[in-house]
């Protein structure tokens, strides 16, 4: 019986069935998932492929315009000199003028790129990898993984040697990953907006990411399948693992790539072998299962019993019109009222007696 923490085993899948081989889950998959860090780092990283744009530095200034000053019944904007053409006398230089320079002309020396600390980048990377192991997160991203045998999906190394797209398609179909690609096919459409004219005409969803250790043909086999990206373990890219800044991309790992993760990122007990002095990030909260924590003995012994009495709003009844309300306030009212009723009865009978006497006397 192992006394160390038992690591869950992940089965390696071959041809859609589980081969006997299993790999213990690399520790990266239990790193803290921080979508805020991932989002921030993704934002910064995405800026690094930008190409500068700027307006021509002379634009709007290639005139010798001068203001006509006051006293000429025109606005004081600088006006183009000379004559003989429509242009003469027109306003120039201002951002409000036709043919003038824009406000704050864009410059090429804008700060296009961003630097991100190495540790922060690695933190984001670990979070993104950890998120790919949660079926809930991957499904929430929209990937169709309902039929997949296991997450994380680890596939035998034979995939790395594939050269034909046909084989790649077959592999995806056998592992029930093809539905995700069908979704990509369905999502092919034209971009809304001006991007159409700017060489960004077509858009589609992202599909699975195939992560390999050694490319022996794999990239060429998968490159024509829409939505599929391929990437080497040693060069994992946050922009591919968390596209859009959102965690939970559907990843397909080859066995050797999967095994390499422990040496790349370390386990908490051991440092990473490939990254100098690096170990996995420490979580702020080791046990995030709130329900479990609340039911635990430590907390149950410390809290008081729940207060389940419901106090509802009480409608005030008017004692002048509601007998029970009156009696609640003044119990003697019962006696008073009874006495009053008896008194009334007596008087009525007395009156009746007098009247019968009167009638008899008349006769």
């Amino acid at each position: 019986m192992a006394t160390t923490c038992a690591r869950p085993l992940v089965g390696v899948h071959v041809d859609g069935a589980v081969s006997g081989v299993s790999v213990s889950l690399p520790a990266v998959f239990r790193a803290p998932i921080r979508p805020d860090v991932v989002n921030f780092v993704h934002d910064q990283m995405a800026k690094n492929t930008r190409q500068p744009y700027a307006v021509n530095k002379d634009a709007g200034h290639q005139t010798s315009a001068e203001s006509w000053g006051t006293g000429r019944a025109v606005a004081r904007i600088p006006r183009v000199r000379g004559g003989g053409t429509h242009r003469s006398g027109q306003g120039a230089f201002g951002n409000m003028c036709r043919g003038g320079r824009m406000f704050a002309p864009t410059k090429t020396w804008r700060r296009w790129h961003r630097r991100i600390g190495v540790n922060q980048k690695r933190y984001a990377m670990c979070s993104a990898i950890a998120a790919t192991s949660s079926p809930a997160l991957v499904m929430s991203k929209g990937h169709m993984i309902q039929e997949i045998p296991e997450i994380p999906l680890v596939v035998s190394d034979k995939v790395q040697e594939m050269t034909k797209t046909k084989e790649a398609v077959l592999m995806l179909k056998k592992h029930r990953a093809w539905t995700d690609i069908l979704k990509v096919y369905k999502s092919k459409r034209f971009r809304a907006g001006k991007g159409k004219m700017r060489n960004r005409r077509r858009i589609q969803r992202t599909g699975p990411l195939v992560i390999y250790n050694k490319d022996q043909g794999l990239t060429r086999a998968f490159r024509n399948i829409p939505g599929v990206d391929t990437i080497c373990v040693e060069k994992l890219n946050l922009l591919k693992l968390a596209p859009g800044g959102h965690v939970g991309r559907f990843c397909i790992w080859t066995e050797s790539a999967f095994r390499k993760l422990d040496s790349l990122y370390g386990t908490w007990r051991k440092e990473s072998r490939k990254k100098k002095n690096y170990n996995l990030p420490m979580p702020k909260m080791t046990n995030t299962d709130l329900a479990r924590i609340l039911k635990s003995d430590e907390i149950q012994l410390a809290i008081r019993a729940p207060n389940k009495t419901v106090i509802r709003r009480k409608i005030k009844k008017n004692p002048l019109s509601n007998r029970h309300a009156l009696l609640h306030l003044n119990p003697f009212a019962r006696v008073e009222k009874k006495a009053a009723i008896l008194e009334e009865k007596k008087r009525i009978e007395a009156k009746k007696a007098i009247e019968t006497k009167k009638a008899a006397a008349k006769k």
């Binding site: 923490c5 997450i151 959102h246 907390i299």
Partner: protein
């Protein structure tokens, strides 16, 4: 004492003795919990549906009984989840639920049973399933209502004679 072992229960006690110096992060227990998942997802996920002038967002994921974006009804995050959908034939419903095992194996995780019986029996079997398995009894009413709504939609529509619109001709008064 290992920081993560709060609420772990007796089977973790052997681990306690071997977990040497605190704070050491033991990640066996540190799985993805439903609460963490919900916190990540609640603001933004692919099934979220926000519309103008609608305060509470809807959610279109498959096992959501009310199609509402909330922690209780979410069909992805939780360990136990109930889904009720109309059966493909047009009669009956399909009750699907997550098994306790195979939480990381989506193909085996969901169990689907078709209930072809009439509405009363079907509602009863749903009620019993929830009650006697202690399976998400907070979803009982929602699942019964959803099943009822499905059955109501599957009822035969009453025959309505096609009405023709006739013009009312004005009566001419004779002298």
């Amino acid at each position: 004492m290992c920081l993560c072992c709060v609420g772990a229960g007796p089977q973790h006690s052997r681990h306690l003795s071997s977990c040497v110096a605190a704070p050491r992060y033991c990640w066996r227990e540190a799985k993805m919990s439903a609460d963490l998942c919900w916190q990540i997802i609640r603001g933004n996920h692919s099934h979220l549906l926000k519309k103008r002038n609608v305060k509470k967002p809807f959610s279109t994921e498959p096992n959501n009984l009310k199609n509402v974006n909330s922690a209780r009804y979410n069909g992805l995050c939780k360990k136990k989840v109930i889904g009720i959908e109309p059966a493909p034939g047009g009669k009956g419903i399909v009750l699907s639920f997550k098994t306790a095992k195979y939480q990381n194996k989506p193909a085996k995780n969901m169990v689907k049973t078709t209930i072809k019986a009439g509405p009363r029996r079907a509602l009863n079997s749903i009620r019993r399933f929830i009650r006697y398995n202690h399976y998400r009894k907070d979803l009982k009413m929602a699942s019964l209502r959803r099943a009822s709504a499905i059955f109501r939609s599957q009822r035969a529509q009453p025959f309505r004679k096609a009405r023709r619109r006739t013009h009312k001709v004005a009566k001419k008064t004779t002298e």
